[in-house]
């Protein structure tokens, strides 16, 4: 039997998108005008990703697309078909512990995006050969912390990763 939703899908020209979301295959029908940000929040039950500016400036909406941080408010949802998306819900408490400890969050509006970019930097120490932590974090605006806590949190993560690596190399 044709349901109301089916008919809606056709008349509104919805597109079927299948992606790998936080490690799991997920399908969703999207409108051509929908942004990845809204699809995550309102259709896929992942409201951790926040909207700040809605125009690519603030970084609150940062997610990983095929492993790179992007602004989900600037990604047409249909473009993630066949791709890998990770959101802040994929981070473990241990992965954000250093940010928490260094006072990288106050009001919290920027925090989901900050945590995503920070984690990406921590996982890719080779980026520091070409960039500073501040340059890498420049797409995440924060009106509360003055950034020092954020930079300290990322540096603590990088130091921890380097230690683990050195220990691995010795054993």
């Amino acid at each position: 039997m044709e349901t109301m939703a089916d008919r809606d899908d056709e008349t509104r020209g919805l597109l079927d998108v299948t992606l790998t979301l936080n490690g799991e295959t997920t399908s969703v029908a999207v409108d051509p005008a929908e942004r990845l940000l809204d699809v995550l929040r309102y259709r896929l039950g992942l409201p951790g990703t926040k909207e700040g500016c809605g125009e690519g400036e603030c970084g609150a909406c940062t997610v990983y697309l095929d492993g790179l941080p992007v602004m989900s408010c600037l990604v047409p949802a249909y473009q993630v078909r066949g791709r890998r998306v990770e959101t802040v819900e994929s981070l473990t408490p241990a992965e954000v512990a250093n940010l928490h400890a260094s006072g990288a969050t106050q009001c919290g509006a920027c925090t989901p995006g900050v945590a995503m970019t920070a984690r990406w930097v921590a996982r890719h120490p080779e980026l520091l050969e070409q960039h500073t932590v501040r340059q890498l974090m420049a797409g995440n605006l924060c009106r509360c912390t003055g950034y020092d806590g954020i930079v300290e949190g990322v540096e603590a993560d990088l130091a921890a990763a380097a230690k683990t690596k050195a220990r691995g190399a010795r054993s």
Partner: protein
Amino acid sequence: MNVLLPASLEEACDLLAEHRAVPVAGGTDLLVEWPQQLDAHRRTYLDLSALEAELRPHRLSDEALVLGALTTYWDVLQDPAVRRAFPLLACAARQVGAIQIQARGTWAGNVANASPAADGVPVLMAYDAVLELASRDGVELVPLASFYRGYKDMRRRPEQLIRSIRLPRRRYDLQWFEKVGSRRAQAITKVGAAVTRSAAGWRVVANSVAPTVCRCPSVERLLANETPIAGPADLLPALRRDVSPIDDLRSTAAYRERVLARVLYWGLRDACPWFR
């Protein structure tokens, strides 16, 4: 809103010939206005993202660097050979927005968006980039320096896609780029310039000081003739023939002209013994 989803470049060209469609690459220009503008919702779009295998790779050979239509700033930053051969591309790429924008924004999108403040365009132009425009009818080569006719007015027919951007390889003895914005990241350029010198001569390109990013032929002649320059003010008469800055919400014409002269003077002084 309607979107066409081609699976190959050939199909994309066919669809563009049949529909008035707006190509979508990284979306970092297009989606900024998307939620607010009703006009944006009435258009038909052509998504290029499924064509990555064909259009994203870049190739560096002894003769040239060829950027694909979907090559991003991040792709260039991640390739040490390209950074060495065309260092200004990396300088400009680092200045575009922030990492999240560099990861998605394409060089071709920067060219086709035709902003006078574009940061990718001046360095491409300073390297004599040539655009390859593809359509169902074939391929047309257009030098980037003659691509813009006026504000947001391009020598690209609606059915043409920028398929690639080709930069000839040369030995450069001077390569220089500067961007002045109100903040180091996520800031639109108030004044910018890219300069190169090779056996082919000087290339001086300015952005944000005219309706389009543009070469500055009078300044290029001044440099080629090694005309003595005693300070930034000596560059102004030539600059005024080449550029026409305006007052807008980001800056004023007077500021832009003065800063461009200073930036060029201090940027080139060490390389030009005839500057005092």
